[in-house]
Symmetry: C2
Subunit: 466 residues, 2 copies
């Protein structure tokens, strides 16, 4: 018995399909039973035979019934179906994201906004125009668009002294992804992983998750102590020579040369993370380690997170010339995964010359914030604080004369609606970290609100100092 409503928005064939399916699942139509002939059903309900047939064919496709030539349709032999468990409905569960603080000194945020600028919109428009001309949409080159890699190679040569052919460059969808790619490309049984201590927490986690053993090398006041590097063959050494993360040291020239020699002698590779090299506030940018490398031993990492926006998710790797990047490209994970629209927009932006202007704009803005905040702190607390890693980038480490633990400190700031961040995770050996050091990022503070941010910061610092 079917309920057919010819005036319903639901097509008749679908009404038949749904009701029969329900009857089969409920057992009203038991296994093996024969369905009414299409002709009969059509006549009974004054509908076309084709309509019935469409419903039957759908049921057949899904495996509820089968047909016997010349004999009709029969219900399949179906297993018992547990229909008792009521289906939960969608609950709009509350997101337990961190409650946003009003005064956020989060590392990684940046301001000014790129999306409203004429130059970015022009590049986006040009990218769209190029894409709409494609007759067939396809996945792009797993290494990234050739035209973008060309534009990037030219930019890197000009600005960072990095000599790279397009065949060495892979575009990725973010810094994590770049690191993950590298960690997957090298056989972890063969290579040790060396990194700065303290160093970039996420890098450590990525390589740990891929199964590497981590060998931390302590910093002194000039950065990584190259003479402490083991002479055992084959290592990957992750360094941030232009602006050590998180402490801000610049690796001296003599150590750079020794580091490169070490790599050549031990058949190792250096991963140079050049994450914010354009952002120096007193000096010119520090030349890249890659530009000194004569032996093809440097894997160079860069990103547009600090200069354009972190939410564009676009980074890149320059692999050594000797590596067979064609082999890389067939690894299932070694796929740039950056959308065509984003890649082409960046290409147009680089070629238009607007990117260099943007870097200047961003650097000037960050420098003003940097100077305001550093001067403010030094003036108000000439004795009770120390600052590490100022002079470049988007953050510094603030050491406070306090007995509170890092956790207590951060909680206290948060209670006052101020976001400051822990430094413990930068250490492989967390017992070496200082409880009284916190991380302050300033690049994301809107320039017209910086006074307000500083006053609020001061209120809490006054509370926590000894």
């Amino acid at each position: 018995m079917l309920n057919i409503d010819k005036n319903s928005a639901v097509p008749v064939y679908e009404q038949i399909y749904r009701q029969l399916k329900e009857q089969i699942i409920d057992g009203e139509l038991p296994s093996g039973s024969r369905l009414s002939a299409t002709r009969t059903l059509a006549a009974d309900y004054h509908i076309s035979r084709n309509t019935v047939l469409t419903a039957y064919q759908q049921l057949e496709s899904e495996g509820f019934i089968y047909s016997k030539v010349g004999s009709g349709f029969y219900v399949e032999d179906l297993p018992e179906i547990d229909n008792s468990a009521a289906r939960e409905t969608i609950q709009s569960e509350t997101e337990d994201e961190d409650h946003d603080v009003r005064y956020d000194f989060r590392y990684g945020n940046i301001e000014p906004n790129i999306y409203g600028t004429r130059s970015f919109r022009k590049a986006l428009k040009d990218a769209l125009s190029e894409l709409e001309l494609k007759t067939s949409l396809s996945d792009s080159d797993p290494r990234g668009y050739l035209s973008l890699r060309q534009a990037l190679a030219e930019h890197l040569l000009k600005v960072r002294g990095v000599v790279a052919s397009v065949d060495q460059i892979i575009i990725t969808c973010g810094h994590h992804y770049s690191l993950k790619m590298i960690s997957e490309f090298f056989p972890r049984e063969e290579y040790r992983f060396i990194m700065e201590e303290p160093g970039h927490q996420d890098t450590r986690e990525v390589f740990l998750s891929t199964g590497y053993h981590i060998d931390p090398i302590r910093l002194d006041e000039n950065g990584i102590q190259v003479n402490r590097l083991s002479r055992t063959r084959k290592a990957l050494a992750y360094v941030t020579p232009s602006h050590q993360f998180p402490l801000g040291y610049i690796l001296p020239f003599s150590r750079r040369i020794k580091l490169l020699e070490w790599a050549q002698e031990t058949d190792s590779y250096i991963i140079e993370d050049d994450y914010d090299s354009e952002l120096r506030y007193k000096e010119r940018p520090i030349p890249s380690l890659h530009s000194l490398d004569r032996n093809d031993r440097v894997i160079y990492l860069g990103s547009f997170s600090k200069s354009l926006s972190p939410d564009l998710r676009i980074s890149y790797i320059v692999f050594p010339r000797k590596m067979k990047i064609e082999q890389l490209a067939v690894h299932p994970l070694l796929n740039s995964s950056s959308p065509a629209l984003i890649q082409l927009t960046l290409e147009k932006y680089l070629r238009s010359g607007e990117y260099l202007k943007r870097i200047n704009q961003v650097r000037n803005s960050f420098r003003r914030k940097h100077n305001l905040i550093i001067d403010f702190l030094k003036k108000n607390y000439p004795e009770q604080i120390k600052i590490y890693g100022s002079g470049g980038g988007t953050h510094f480490i603030l050491e406070l004369d306090t007995k509170m633990s890092q956790k207590q400190l951060i909680e206290r700031f948060k209670k006052n609606d101020v976001g400051v961040y822990p430094t413990k995770g930068f250490w492989a050996d967390q017992s070496q970290s200082h409880e009284n050091r916190i991380m302050i990022g300033y690049a994301g503070i809107p320039e017209d609100q910086i006074e307000e941010y500083l006053e609020r910061l001061k209120t809490v610092i006054d509370e926590v100092l000894c």
Copy 2:
């Protein structure tokens, strides 16, 4: 001795910096030697003392010189520098990408183009407007934008019967990435990986690369043979129930129920890859396996590659309710990595109702191409070919009556400027694959050129048939 040109475009401080740096590297200024006092140098060249100081400070930052208070600047003790090896310059090496064929039947390509459509541009514009209002640019939620996950949850409920809260959904930058995420989340020591044989080649490679053992289960004419699944506890079973990849079978209802029961009984999870479920050309779309699951055992995968564009690189995972997705989100790789602009554009597109229209448009276009090509082949080769997996999706498998090997076949097509693709890689045990079967994708063929494509296909088929 310095060469200072006050009329040069290069700032004077930079001229000093460059020349001194060169003299230090070349050994003309040996280690330990004292640089001219800033006052002297300034007087000698009639420049300001500040200019000299800026140059000296840059050299100091980079570790070429050091200062002694009250005594001046001295050259650092630098290691020998090998300057002999001439630096190679950028070579514009030829890309050895596959020579593009004129008539490409590549799986994964799609047409019609989305980028020029008014609805997509509207969504993009709205996304831009939202982004430009942000005071501070930051990395977005690693699970993906909440608003997109909400829009997607509503869409999945309506169209695929998938009941999911936003907390279960993660947006990813492509299908590979989704698979990689899953492969990293489950401990590979604990879970076996089961997949269809033949099955999706890239899936096998991703799980192999993460260190899983692969357990292939042979298909019969209804898809995966559920009764062959081992009863050992804890497995991940990758299936394509709505349209088996690559052979096109629809998993019957009875097997779906048994598969779900098996997962519950063995404490296993089913990875349902619903990669092209909207694309049925005779029936309605087949309901998802997820919609039948009462025990929270299905991980549901979807993508916008077939409906919008493969180069948007946007996919998603619906995790089971019981999994702590908050834990997932802190894993360094478990980061959606899809740019904010792309996510928000998709969200606007979904909410505008244009996505459903687009699916209809795409389905109608693919159906027309499907019917033309299938009819053409059946009419011309009533006896000498077999077709597997037609009726839905964007490809089928073509079996030819020929003695040629798959490699020879594909070469022959390529010589005639026709791209057809191998099927061998779909088998874990390649000896089981058929030499005379090739893969034909048709979704990317421009509709107005399809006759030309078919004629050319026929020319080559005539050549290779026995």
